[in-house]
Assembly symmetry: C2
Homo-oligomer: 92 residues x 2
């Protein structure tokens, strides 16, 4: 999948990301990948559910993957920290 | 799957739920389902990642499902609210 079809979920309101997904699909994308890390994971699920239920009922969840990213140590701590990740692939 | 093999994620520390999963697998469970709603969804992913990476490397993610639960209106509001859900099925 081309990187331009990825929506990276941050701290903005859910509707910002919903609009990003809808814009990609309306622009002809067959697949959109919603990605998030850490606490934004819950918001990623919210985004997908709003897209599917309220705006684009034909969009299906093709695949959901979870994983762990290792973050560089920071602030005097020697051990790397870990953060959970999710990637939800939507298709229409 | 029997209900006793479900671990419902709430607001306790991640390790509490990790221990619950490990206990179920050590007790002979072939599958464990980790479930969460709303903001606890991120913690559910954390739990699964810690179980797999640190304690039980043979455990695989069999299936991940997301959805929406409708909550009864409360506090003078007439419209029902919605909350996202996740179910992660682990197998060994």
């Amino acid at each position: 999948m081309s990187e331009s079809n990825a929506v990276l979920i941050g701290r903005k309101p859910v509707m910002n990301y919903v609009l990003a997904c809808i814009t990609l699909f309306h622009g002809g994308a067959k697949e959109v990948e919603v990605r998030a890390r850490g606490r934004a994971i819950s918001r990623a699920v919210d985004v997908v559910e709003v897209v599917r239920r309220r705006f684009l009922p034909d969009v299906k969840v093709k695949k959901i993957g979870i994983g762990t990213d290792e973050m560089a140590p920071r602030g005097g701590d020697d051990t790397p920290t870990h953060v959970s990740t999710i990637e939800i692939t939507l298709t229409q």
